[in-house]
Symmetry: C2
Subunit: 304 residues, 2 copies
């Protein structure tokens, strides 16, 4: 017998949402962004939350998972397009695409002379702050560039480093001081607040580029501005401490920067991958089979 299906249009007020849950008492919820948070009473009927997107912290109180609620999200199915955006920002920072876009489109400019201030990724030392799903996909994408990879990620076991052919940095100081290209992909947990500041940025070698695709709060943006203005650090960012990035942010007026408005996540054309994963998980749930990307309390606590 097929389960009863109710389609609900977002947005929905918090009050309407609670009323609906009390009335319909769903066993399964399939949802995406714009869904209001779940009340604790949902534990009485809700068994499975199939979330099409990523962050569930504001949607699901920890207590619901403690009480047995199954929750899945897009997990690693979107990490390849985020890794693609990381590669794009690396290449863009090395070739100064942000600068040339502004100069060519708004200032009528052209290069002067035959010695542009551009760099290639081939043969460079790439440092990854974090070695989760996105970094692992990025390792595959940069493989043809013959780079030397290091990563700092204390929680990831040696076997993973060896399998990926990535050198382990025992400290962030080691990671930053050896990275021609530093890719920031550390999670946005409170411990990491402003972890990257003047000290670490000052260790980057001359001509290094700095890319952040992870969480804005990990990086002290004032220190980033100083590194750009005083040491000529080239920067490419997709994430910021405050989003939307304030109009008055000094990042917007730096000389050497490429900025995207948090577009790293799955491009709309690849959202079908999330849909296919969700469908498979719904089938598995109804057939009492194991679910993919099931969020346990450890994952919940590490999530951003």
């Amino acid at each position: 017998m097929l389960p009863e299906l109710l389609w609900v249009e977002a947005p929905l007020s918090d009050a309407d949402w609670r009323e609906l849950l009390r009335e319909k008492r769903p066993e399964i919820i399939l949802c995406a962004w714009e869904t209001p948070g779940l009340p604790l009473e949902a534990a009485e009927h809700l068994k499975y939350l199939c979330y099409l997107c990523g962050s569930i912290r504001s949607l699901v109180p920890r207590e619901l998972i403690e009480r047995g609620l199954k929750v899945t999200n897009w997990g690693a199915v979107v990490s390849n397009t985020v890794a693609e955006c990381a590669l794009l920002l690396i290449l863009a920072a090395l070739r100064r695409v942000g600068n040339w876009s502004v100069a060519m489109r708004t200032q009528g400019q052209w290069k002067s002379g035959r010695h542009p201030d551009t760099l290639s990724l081939f043969g460079r030392r790439v440092g990854l702050h974090g070695l989760g799903a996105i970094s692992r996909d990025l390792v595959r994408l940069v493989e043809p560039f013959n780079v030397q990879l290091s990563a700092y990620s204390p929680s990831v076991p040696d076997e993973t480093f060896e399998r990926l052919n990535v050198r382990r940095s025992e400290t962030l100081e080691d990671l930053f001081s050896r990275a021609d290209v530093l890719v920031e992909l550390a999670p946005g947990k409170p411990d990491n607040y402003h972890l990257v500041g003047d000290d670490l940025l000052g260790l980057l070698p001359p001509h290094a580029v700095f890319v952040n695709l992870g969480r804005g709060m990990v990086v002290d943006e004032a220190a980033l501005v100083r590194a750009s203005q005083q040491r000529g650090l080239h920067i490419a960012l997709d994430v910021y401490e405050t989003e939307p990035l304030p109009v008055v942010s000094p990042l917007r007026s730096l000389d050497n920067i490429t900025l995207l408005p948090h577009l790293g996540g799955p491009t709309p054309d690849r959202r079908r991958d999330c849909g296919e994963l969700a469908l498979q998980n719904l089938e598995n749930y109804l057939a009492s089979k194991p679910l993919t990307n099931l969020i346990d309390l450890g994952t919940y606590d590490r999530a951003t």
Copy 2:
């Protein structure tokens, strides 16, 4: 015995250059950009021109090669960094980096809503107009993206297509009509003048992106502007019909475009690859061994 070595600073007037050649009668010349053209009389003494860069048409009269002058250039040693720039422009066009660079840096903007107009390279159909050294290197770089590759290049044998796992397009119409990503890398020979115009651009599928890293003269820029304005084609260019690109070019004010000022060639950090190749060739010449990237009359006539 080591040969006598004379170091000459550029720039040098045409007259001074001829005078110097008459006086010194060098057997070997090692040179780069800014070298004046060789007079025919150089055939009396010059045996080997080791050119550090690419295009030699304006430097070497065809008759000198006919009369036995050996000429080498950077050949395929720089094609990997041009392929890198091609990948960058593909990813930039798909994510609208040119637009966001201008919007974020000069207009204080942020994305609106959760559905940005961006695309991923994963799984897309990529069409290559030309299957020379740059395209072949690009094939390696896009391999992790699981793309479907086609190319139009009548002079390249079937074995090359098979080895690279690239589908042969028998016509340009076939190539363009199947390409989500069209990469223009055809040589700038007279036959190719404005080969890509309204007809071919009109065959590109909806949401296609068009990238030119080859030669500007192959593409009718007025048709490119029409395709952008009337059909929303996304464009990324490194080369132009007229370089430097005129300040008043309508390309500069298109909505959906990423522009670079002909930076595809080897980034300065990789020029040492050209130097190493030249050194090896000089050693080989002095030891009467075969030279790498020797330019015969066929190569000369096909060159851009």
